[in-house]
């Protein structure tokens, strides 16, 4: 019989992803993030370096390398603006780490506009000393939002599946959650049977996913804080592809209990199922429109698998992908609802495509051959996806304009099905 072993820690197992930026843009905003002064007397992680990497990764900032910095000020009175303006730097970040009481560190940082000579931001962020990474992401969010007037997504989290093939006898599947930069990876579920299709609840507190631990697919819901999980949907055939409605009250899922895969809505409170599609073809991969009025899904009812829209108000269905080849699957909306990101297959090449729903113009934003599982960052600025490289399946991210690409490479094993969690406010 299937055994579910008790709670157990995996801190040594989860490995951070290493990020490699492949391509950048020249119009990026020049910024200098000076190493923070560490007054704690302890050896701590390099907060400024994390912030620098975060901002660079967006493709919207170009940060000055430390060795090119004319000075390393950590207090306002030490800043000589001319030093920086002569290097074309527009914004400067300085800061320090102070120890308040045991276990707590204060991150002090200031964002300075070197042309106007004004401080744009100044905050003290007290964090637990083992939570400095989160503090660094918070600093990054403040700077991103202040300079770009859009929310940063650095404090949001990623969920993804890893598969370890190290042992010959069996594979180990892990559901992991990491910081948005791939660091601080934590395993929240481990199984010898496949795990797939993780989905975030809108409040970021729960993950729905599919596990084969019961010898068939079943949909589970797991609370991140407590680790408590429950099997919520199981039955004959496929029980898969969960995605939360924006209000968090419903899950759209794919079930084949009536003979072939159809889309259903599962009410999490009432625990009832409502069938949405009715067709002999495959209907799967539902995703909610941000306005909550409809769903997109994949169906091969027409010309190969294509993306369709289901209108929840009048139950009408219309095809979305036309003249885009015979393989279009797994669509997800941009947070503003204006675009779909999906997998497009043409002549054996599978790439991530961005489709503008109004103009119907689409463009490939990736260059792999086996790219899949695209997911928008919650601020719409980045798209994360899985790509197959010589190292096996790995995660990659691309800025939503397609200009900046980066790979998040695991030390070992495969990484797949990334999903970006909501903004934590």
């Amino acid at each position: 019989m299937v055994s579910v072993c008790g709670l157990f820690s995996f801190e040594t197992i989860a490995e951070d992803l290493v990020i490699k930026i492949e391509k950048g843009v020249s119009t990026a905003l020049p910024i200098a993030i000076v190493p923070f002064e560490n007054n704690t007397g302890e050896s701590l992680i390099d907060v400024a370096a994390i912030v620098r990497n975060n901002l660079e990764r967006s493709g919207l900032f170009r940060s000055l390398p430390v060795y090119d910095m004319p000075a390393l000020p950590t207090a306002l009175e030490d800043v000589r603006t001319k030093n920086w303006t002569s290097l074309g730097i527009e914004n400067l970040v300085i800061g320090k780490l102070e120890k308040k009481n045991s276990g707590t560190v204060d991150i002090h940082f200031r964002l300075i506009d070197v042309y106007s000579g004004k401080q744009l931001l100044g905050y003290r962020i007290p964090v637990q000393s083992d939570d400095l990474r989160f503090g660094s992401h918070k600093v990054s969010d403040f700077i991103y939002e202040k300079l770009l007037d859009k929310p940063g997504a650095y404090t949001s989290l990623l969920a993804y599946i890893t598969v370890d093939r190290d042992s010959d006898t069996e594979k180990i599947y892990r559901l992991q959650v990491s910081d948005s930069d791939g660091h601080n990876a934590r395993t929240i579920l481990q199984s010898t049977e496949p795990i797939l299709s993780p989905a975030w609840s809108p409040d970021g507190k729960r993950l729905a996913y599919v596990s084969f631990e019961g010898r068939n697919s079943a949909v589970y819901l797991q609370d991140l804080a407590t680790g408590r999980r429950q099997r919520i949907i199981h039955g004959k055939g496929i029980n898969s592809s969960p995605t939360f409605s924006r209000d968090g009250k419903k899950l759209a899922v794919t079930l084949s209990r009536d003979g072939n895969p159809e889309i259903y809505l599962y009410d999490l409170k009432v625990k009832s199922l409502m069938r949405v599609t009715r067709h002999g073809a495959i209907d799967t991969e539902p995703a909610w429109a941000p306005d909550g009025r409809g769903l997109v899904f994949t169906s091969d009812r027409g010309d190969g698998p294509q993306i369709y829209y289901f209108n929840l108000a009048d139950n009408s269905i219309k095809r979305i992908t036309y003249n885009m080849g015979r393989y279009n699957t797994r669509a997800r909306y941009s947070p503003d609802g204006r675009k779909l990101v999906l997998v497009n297959g043409i002549q054996g090449i599978y790439r991530i495509v961005l489709l503008d729903l109004r103009t119907k113009i689409y463009e490939a934003v990736t260059i792999g051959e086996l790219d899949e599982s695209p997911s928008f960052s919650p601020n719409g600025a980045m798209i994360i996806y899985a790509t197959v490289t010589e190292d096996g399946s790995q995660l990659a991210a691309v800025s939503a304009d397609g200009f900046t690409k980066q790979k998040l490479v695991a030390q070992r094993g495969e990484v797949r099905e990334p999903v970006w969690g909501p903004l934590i406010r």
């Binding site: 299937v2 072993c5 964090v127 989160f134 093939r165 929240i188 481990q190």
Partner: protein
């Protein structure tokens, strides 16, 4: 059981309403307030979630057991338990018909024997769509066995989609091997 998680509450305190100071361009002395001591002007509370615990599930592997009694069936036909499919297709290939008929005769004669039809796909495209394709392949074989007289009660279908490839390479030859239905006797 160990609680790994924690709820970290992080207070962000606006440094000072007055510290957003100007400082002189060449400012050797500067006119900026030097103190970083906090003034509780506005206070934001940010909560990170504590990712408490991880769980392990270790189901037993379900191996296809050997058929000890072939009941007159040609052993070599019954040894064929993996059936390939063409790209994006769930049609039974002609080369597999003889073996499928052998399994059908065996199942009819041994009405206590049950078989699981496991559908699989190659790795290309999206995982959930492949899960559906794998089921369609397994159902296709199930329909064929059913037409040959095997009662539905002896068969069950499961799909793994692209999750359990036999070949790990990313090429046509591997994809062809991985697009399959496996018969698992139990």
């Amino acid at each position: 059981m160990r609680q790994l998680g924690r709820i970290a509450t992080i207070f962000i305190i606006f440094l000072s309403g007055t510290s957003c100071g100007m400082f002189s361009e060449e400012g050797s002395e500067g006119t900026v307030e030097k103190s970083l001591s906090p003034v509780n002007v506005s206070e934001a509370s940010v909560e990170t979630m504590g990712l408490a615990s991880a769980r392990e599930v270790s189901p037993e592997a379900l191996d296809g057991r050997l058929l000890d009694n072939y009941n007159g069936e040609t052993a070599s036909l019954l040894d064929i338990r993996v059936f390939q499919f063409a790209y994006d297709s769930s049609e039974i290939l002609e080369k597999h018909v003889a073996a499928i008929e052998g399994h059908a005769r065996y199942l009819i004669k041994n009405s206590n024997t049950r078989v699981i039809l496991e559908g699989h796909t190659d790795e290309r495209g999206s995982r959930e769509y492949n899960l559906a394709l794998g089921e369609r392949r397994a159902q296709s074989l199930q329909r064929r066995l059913s037409l040959l007289g095997v009662p539905e009660s002896q068969m069950s279908v499961i799909t793994y989609g692209e999750e359990r490839p036999l070949e790990l390479m990313h090429n046509e030859a591997a994809y062809a091997v991985n697009r399959r239905v496996e018969l698992v006797y139990r």
